[in-house]
Assembly symmetry: C2
Homo-oligomer: 317 residues x 2
Amino acid sequence: MGIEHDIISYREEINIGLKNIYPVGPKSLKDPIDYVLNASGKRIRPLLAILTAKACGGSKHDVFSEALALELLHNFTLIHDDIMDEDLVRRGRKTVHNKWDEGIALLAGDAMLSLALKMINKSNQPLKQMPIFINGLLAVCEGQALDKEFEKVNYISLKNYLNMIDLKTGYMIGLSCHMGALATGMNNSIALKLRDYGRLLGRAFQIQDDYLEIFSDSVVMGKSLQSDILLGKITFIIIKAMEKDLEKINNGIKIAKIDFTKGIKYIRNFIISSGIKDMVINEIDNIIKSADSKLENINIKRKKLLYFSNLIKDRKK
Amino acid sequence: MGIEHDIISYREEINIGLKNIYPVGPKSLKDPIDYVLNASGKRIRPLLAILTAKACGGSKHDVFSEALALELLHNFTLIHDDIMDEDLVRRGRKTVHNKWDEGIALLAGDAMLSLALKMINKSNQPLKQMPIFINGLLAVCEGQALDKEFEKVNYISLKNYLNMIDLKTGYMIGLSCHMGALATGMNNSIALKLRDYGRLLGRAFQIQDDYLEIFSDSVVMGKSLQSDILLGKITFIIIKAMEKDLEKINNGIKIAKIDFTKGIKYIRNFIISSGIKDMVINEIDNIIKSADSKLENINIKRKKLLYFSNLIKDRKK
């Protein structure tokens, strides 16, 4: 039974754990919580927590509460972000505020966060895990705040963009590895290297997400492709393209606002012909390599984590 | 220096603590957080935590982190509730989503909650305090969910109404006393009696709030008086009035929707002439008495808490 099978079976167990997380409660909370947690998801954060625990010589059981908490925290941010971004579709289904209303989505998110915190309390190491989990919560709020602030400007420096995605995405993926390590009693210096591995993997993941947003179609991504482009979101690939030819990209965005298909084609063509596409793919590979390098010279079983890095690298959605 | 002076000085220290809670962060988070925490507030929850700690023989310092966390949790709920209830004014000033926008209010609330959790981590007893704090968070979400569900129905039983306000208001005020007791190392059975004192005080407080909403004018309450009536919110006083004469109250609400001043006068007159007003005042007194009775036969210095009960009883806003 190889790692592929392991991942499928962990994902299954995570899904079952999530399904039973809120057995009784007011209907207007329970229904949207069940709806969200029954949706398919990649479960990257809980999987990473478990794989990290395994790499440190521990077991799935050592970190299962934390794993569920991480997925709940992630879904809390998705529900609230979707309200803010006015996204109507997520994972191929209506977002919560679209299916119910904004108030219900807001409150379901809050309740989901409290369920996440309850899981941390249930973990074997609440005194170690709670502080970093809460730092993760604040980081993700700050990342989202910066993301929304950046929507209102015409240009962001690469440094500011990377800081934003590190807070919004990298921090929580780093947290997943950090918690996985701490759950097994791994010493702090190795736990921090695993955290840094996760943070870089998260950075690559987000850059790739923005790349896929341009080059996949919305059916594959399972969420509304239009929103980011139309919101004028400046992402890694857009920054690189703007550095090459600002006018062309602004023109493409302008066209997309009138005729989305035409605008996106225009932007795609420019990004391909100018070599930006290859450059971004290369950059994603490099960041994943530097993530993997954090795992060198530490006494862990790194094989499954390297396999996971590769899964991320090769993902199409 | 008497207790009146103590309360003023504690409130001052709480305000200073809150002012310094988030020194650096994205502008779109920091501005609304500062705005909310600089508003005047009664600071009932942190005051109760401190007064309970004193009653248990401890000091303000024993529970100061928890006190700030409780006020932050309370303000988190106000920001999110105001979005859901579409309230435009709070404490005589624009609500956050009214001054900025819904997205900013949503996120500022989330960040404020993470600051609250950070304060619990900083407390002397995080392992004892965190689980009950998180239970309080879920309770308040469930209370708000029920409150919104009840807006859609024409009648609620008194039992369901009391369950809703116990979750929405009582739980957190009980939590304040509970945390104050635990912070001093008070044994669990006494801590639970103090919690129950707070829960009943919170129940009285909410019934009184709904009473004041009918009998104060909006200037005194510092928030929009109209919203609850126009939303058709069924409160303790309204349930009692409906039990007396359902048609009259429905008629009053109908009038208020067309001409607010006329409708509220109609409702007020009926509530006074039918004796409901006196009955509700009497009921509030009785609940506060039963709260106070929880403090009997336990080894604490109850004087300051009894004084506080009285302050609540006599409040005009």
